[in-house]
């Protein structure tokens, strides 16, 4: 930029930039077992031998007793809604609205896990009025599965 093209000293400038970064996330064996189960339409929590709590998502150690979890436990396919929101605003790089984000405790699990809850959303208020903590939901596996958490979604039971 020549001196003549420089903006006045009192004027700020902005310099654009973009980040494109690639990663390979290591799952560890517990998460790998779980995700491989999803590919076979199987959802398993993991039980703490101390307090008996069944964790979903599964984890290698009970985070309350700090002892190794040992026993895989089949959970679902139905469960209980604990929390939800209905998104009607588009966020950059996130899905097109509307959609329902739902935390549900699958039967046999003590903790709730998040997924999309598929349901008709004509009016946000009307859809919200159908949902409460305690509403029953079920897991619906997709025809094509890749061993990812996105292999299924929730729907109303």
């Amino acid at each position: 930029m020549s001196e003549a093209e420089l903006p006045p000293a009192s004027t700020s400038m902005t310099i654009p930039a973009d980040w494109h970064i690639h990663y390979n996330y290591t799952t560890g064996p517990i998460v790998a077992h779980f995700l491989q189960g999803l590919a076979q339409e199987r959802i398993e929590g993991i039980r703490c031998p101390g307090c008996g709590i069944v964790y979903l998502p599964p984890r290698a150690y009970c985070e309350r007793d700090f002892i190794r979890t040992t026993e895989w436990v089949p959970v679902g396919p139905e469960g209980t809604l604990e929390a939800f929101t209905i998104v009607s605003q588009k966020f950059e790089n996130l899905p097109d609205p509307p959609y329902v984000i739902a935390f549900a405790r699958l039967d046999g699990a003590d903790t709730a896990m998040v997924n999309f809850l598929h349901m008709p959303i004509e009016h946000v208020e009307q859809a919200a009025a159908q949902l409460h903590p305690g509403t029953r939901i079920r897991v619906r596996f997709h025809a094509t599965r890749k061993g990812r958490i996105t292999d299924f979604h929730y729907e109303l039971a």
Binding site: E82, T85, I86, T111, V114
Partner: protein, 395 residues
Amino acid sequence: MEERTRAAIIGVGETVFRTHINTSFRELAQEAALAALTMANMTPNDIDAVVFSMAPTEFMGVTDAEKWAIDAVGGRGKPYMRIHTGGATGGSAAQAGYYHVASGLYDTVLVVGADKVSETPDAQFILNLIWDPFFERDFALNTVTMAALQAMRHMAKYGTTEEQMAQVAVRSFRNAKNNPRAHLKGDITIDDVMASRRIAWPLKRYDCCPRSSGAAAIVIASEHVVRDRDIPAAWINGVGAIANTVWMGDRMGPRALTDLGDWEELRLAAATAYRQAGITDPVNQIDMAEIYAPFTINEILGVEALGFCKPGEGGRLSEEGFFDVNGPLPVNPSGGTLCSNPIAVTALVRIGDAALQILGAAGSYQLPNISTALATGVGGSFQFQTCMILGKEPV
């Protein structure tokens, strides 16, 4: 407490908070640092150590931006550390600064930070990246949807209404009119809030904070520095901090240890701070509070968790004016986080604004007769909680 060196805030610096500020990150941090030092009647040479308040730097597109600001805030040649606990960063940084002095190892500490959240339009995408990549990130979790989940649980449990949340926005915007640094402000009505664009049910546009740029700083000094210099001081009489599980789904259901819809982690953090500060009756002993509430529901959850009222009463008391600037316990007279959210320093602004009230230096939003003030911070998926009690006199 008996082993601690007493410490106090003797300087506060805050820039204006806006979407676009024609000032670079370094210059913003410098502006706040110099303002805090000026108030403390100090120069950078008087500072023993620097704590830099820096949340995720992806908002600015600079990794580890704390190093970028070392020279600008007078950190060269001194101990210097970054503190990062998400939205609670400013609260944790202030506590780290306090520990420096309370330990007896340092006499004067500058706690400073800056953020330029508005340098990317992708803030909620960046915030989505704080969630687990195997189980959670795919489902559009971000801070807005997180707060919506909390609001929904509080509504289901206690009958809290969207109108009660709207009232928090009305009051915050009204209070912010008195704060020349606040980002959003104005006269809005409950109807305006209710009619504003839906974002994530039950939250609407006015229930949500803006993306702000800006900077803040405080100077913390030991008791003998305060006495030697004979300078006004806001004494740090209690600090509490609690971390909780990353899994929001662990905070729901019969076996949950804490409930996402009750902000019980903040209750625990406050209990520690209250014990240190000798507070047994918060409503009568605390004169004002700056509660970190980026969404309207968080203020309702906050007043309940801090023991200002019973669980479930926050919405009703808010409607009745209990937390108004002329009410029994003013909350967020600055307009709060709902009106200005420069994430890396938002919790530091809460502390700075509480300290200004104690020091009688809040200018156009000064409240009368403030002897004890409270400031909180929260970060992550409601994982990091900080609570600080400031007093006109040391305990």
